[in-house]
Symmetry: C4
Subunit: 336 residues, 4 copies
């Protein structure tokens, strides 16, 4: 598994594995020529889960489970601490099943990060004999404030080693979310949440949904590259066929934001977020916060990139006349 | 005729004779992040015409009538047997009129194929003195379970040797379909079926329609290449003018699926189908099965291509949470 | 004037002076898989103005007034005679004002052309002291069956020598159309007829409208090239600005076809027509006939091009199941 | 500040800093084949602010504050005098705060320009202790007929030296517009005016709005180049993110034209105007006049460009049958 995870990371950094189109480009915030605020008074604070973050930007969980992943997680943790924003880790399965690699995740607990998000896969909850204990262990590993249960059946179904057992996931989500004291969110990993799925999730005890839609990194694309490297033409073609599978993040948001808000759910939008303008677009479409993933680790400097995110979020807020995140939610949006 | 058929096949393998746009790219199945099924329990079985196939994928009839065609048909028959799916042959006119080439079709009868589809042209039914006997002979030739009567007036009208007599075809379809004990389907060959044509066909005794729409191989394009080779600039230009003539397969499906279903007709969608995701798209739009043609013979390995079709169909079913083909019909579709 | 007309012709043959987009590509005729006619029984005959033509295709008036123009007109006249279709000539002003060049127009009278269309400009009717006599002289010059009065204010306003007096044109059209025994049509030359203009024309005694819309040769483009050659950057830029000015022919047809039909007007569609499929599209959108211009003289062989037009018109009629032009008018059309 | 202003000008002349798409290309005026006017009787006179201009074209304020800016302003003033049209200057802050550079603005007062527009920034009105006196000084400096207060928060928020205090601007606009005898207009500088902002402005005493929308020069783009030159990757990326920020000029016009007209406001459309056809499009969409900026100074000859503007405006008026600017407002427009 280590080798696979490392391969995933390397491919996503070195190859073009982005979806064909980034749908955030279709979302325009309406300019306010008379913002009637001062830029310096803009407050990007995001309060949620009893925590206070300097911005509704989350460093999405990306990796873990091997030495280099620990190095990446530490460097991201430094940024999360410096900018006082939320941060997740990649699927903790490896760390839960092999204590030797747990450090590659738990390293982030050494940093003062206001919101740490643990991460286990829904398929693993099914496999593990004691899923609740494992979830608690994952939380403890990184001293997490929130647990994300991820749904990644696109990836599972494309990779040869994939875990294609999905029956019972909803029940496990229900069990885990009702048993833990830590808030639980459910997180898609690049194919989006439909209305129908949102409705099912609303009947559990989860506290939020990360819609993780299509538009950024394509896991099918990564699998296409992996298959190519090992000469497996069949799986390579499969990866190409599903390269753009999924609901684009902004369209997924449009589908589910209203019913989630009405139900008091936290909505995080991940998938294709490249900068603070995309974060602002997500929030104007109904998200509470947005997750940034590959844009961060593929830039020359992740720290500079985060600085760009903060400045571009503030600029978008200034140019739409929003003093705070709450006002940003009411900004007029034009969709192409 | 042999030379012409061979030329057709060679051009369709060696030249770019695809329509300018494949309209299946406009059809998106809505992702189900919580499929709540296990991939291994997915059942792609298709039952129709009293037969059971492992998937609603048909190897569309493409060739016949000369030696190399027999080799191709045999290799496709092996795939159809291995995968237990339906298979058709190219127009059997040559084999019916010249026993020496009948083997290039009948070779498929040597294989255990669950659904074999004989193939005669509507214009030939008009020409032949005893069309019903000829149709029975065609069925017998390959031990067919179904007879397809094809409509190919685009090709007939573009090729110089074309048979441009269409008057009376409907009556012949009526006669043949009411006289034979074998079920009869009517099959377009790349230009699609309109609502008006579907209504006329519903008044005959046929059992199904293969809408064979625009989007895959363009017969006008093939004729453009043939004309170019013999220096006939007029026919070459004619081929270019009609290169993209016809109703795109998904739009043809949208037109006719509902009235055909209501009438109890089997609907097969051929035209631009490249893989199992396209098959799933066709079924979600109302087809019972989909036919794959040029994508199979232009790939490096037709067998590997079929494996890709099966895996991608299953993947699409898994990611939309469909345990069987019936459920796939109800999947939500977004059209661009 | 001779030099200018020659320059026009040379530029339109040698340079790319087509509009940026040909809107006929947006018009799709719905395929009829069961045409239920025989191609050989298709009758493309067009009867109008008491004449019978073998097809509703008109060789649009393009040139005249200098020696080479006479050669071109003669070669086009041979095609019109051979194919028994209508033919026009370019603006006859030069021939009316200078008898020495009248032969470049009158040459077509030596051929048995079923419908010959004389051509004078609306601005000239204003300038001439005796416009009705001049119009009669133009008719006599080529033994015309119809007189076209052309409106070409786009060209007039872009070319430095342009005639920019438009006031009174409608009154002159009224006078001439009510005074002559020969039927009169009004013809735009590349910028189309709006609903408002059509309504004004319906109040005169003209017998038809050639909507001459945008999509084929751009007169503004020709003027851009002429200006460039003489180093006039201002007029060159003006030509570029108005390169795509005008109402696209199919959209102009959609605007005016119905009210013209109701008023018993003949509607001819010129502008961007490249072949018989475009002719069929125009007729399905409401035209009685279509004019072909630059596509004819820029092809290697105008005669072969006409053969392509006839074959492609018949093919389009066959594939939509139309036995005659009247039926073609009722074919279903999809517009992008 | 001088260096920055010079840099702005140089970059906007030498680099590609245009928005990705010019939305005026989506606006089509409906051709009038029978204009029934004579081109020479077309009257492009624009009367506003008690002045008479030969056309509703304004040379938008672009520069000032350093020696070369004075040279440019003088050459533009010569054109404004020759063509008898309105002209503005760049932000006069530099000239107000440093008398040594005032001449680079006041030079235009030496020319007989029918409408001179002074220019101060809304943020400066906030900073200055005596904003009304400063505004009067700016008016006096160029003997202005109108004062424009510009809103340029896109630029301010992107450039590192930017003035990001926007609170109180509306109140200052109210104060200045009610205190001065000279009419005041408010002018966006490339990001457009929304309905909401227009409504706020209608409650002040201003006489007009220059909607200065997106589509022409992008100030964010200029800042991207400036940042690149000084090696500031963060600000460079910020410039790229906001390159196409703003409401496209024609869409901004569609938003606000009606309510502004009803309120008796003068509406000027600047942003992406390249020639007289764009001016005509703007007027047909509801503007009273249009401002041309970068197209003028990036052409080989600004004077020839203005000649093109006049001729193309007249041509557009001729081809839509408009004798004067009032009629142009009623021309039918098709938007893509």
């Amino acid at each position: 598994m280590k080798g696979r995870k490392k391969e995933h990371l390397e491919i996503s950094i070195n190859e073009d594995v982005q979806c064909s189109y980034n749908y955030w480009d279709d979302v325009a915030l309406v300019h306010n020529a008379l913002p009637e605020i001062d830029m310096k008074e803009i407050d990007t604070t995001w309060r949620e889960f009893g925590k206070e973050m300097k911005a509704p930007i989350i460093i999405a969980g990306m990796t873990g489970g091997f030495e280099e992943a620990g190095i990446i997680n530490e460097s991201l943790a430094k940024i999360a601490e410096k900018y006082q924003i939320g941060m997740g880790v990649g699927s903790q399965r490896a760390g839960l099943e092999d204590e030797k690699v747990a450090k590659s995740y738990s390293i982030i607990a050494d940093y003062k990060i206001p919101l740490k998000i643990a991460n286990v896969g829904a398929p693993q909850l099914l496999e593990w004999k004691k899923p609740i204990e494992m979830a608690e262990k994952a939380i403890k590993m990184i001293k997490a404030d929130v647990l994300a249960i991820h749904l990644n059946f696109l990836q599972e179904s494309i990779q040869v080693e994939g875990d294609r057992v999905a029956k019972g996931c909803l029940e496990k989500i229900r069990e885990v979310s009702s048993s833990l004291s830590t808030p639980v969110i459910v997180k898609e990993t690049g194919a989006g949440i439909s209305m129908e799925v949102a409705k099912k999730l609303l009947e559990t005890d989860i506290a939020g949904i990360d819609i993780g839609g299509m538009g950024g990194t394509s896991f099918a694309a990564i699998e296409a590259y992996r298959a190519k490297k090992r000469g497996d033409k069949i799986q390579e073609e499969l990866g190409h066929i599903f390269w753009d599978w999924g609901i684009p993040t902004p369209y997924s948001l449009l589908e589910v934001a209203e019913i989630c808000q009405d139900a008091g759910m936290v909505i995080i939008a991940t998938g294709g977020i490249r900068n603070g303008l995309d974060v602002a677009r997500a929030i104007a479409l109904g998200a509470d916060a947005a997750g940034i993933a590959s844009s961060l680790i593929t830039s020359d400097s992740a720290e500079k990139k985060m600085e760009v995110c903060f400045r571009s979020l503030k600029t978008a807020m200034f140019l739409t006349g929003c003093k705070n995140i709450k006002e940003l939610k009411d900004v007029e949006v034009w969709i192409d």
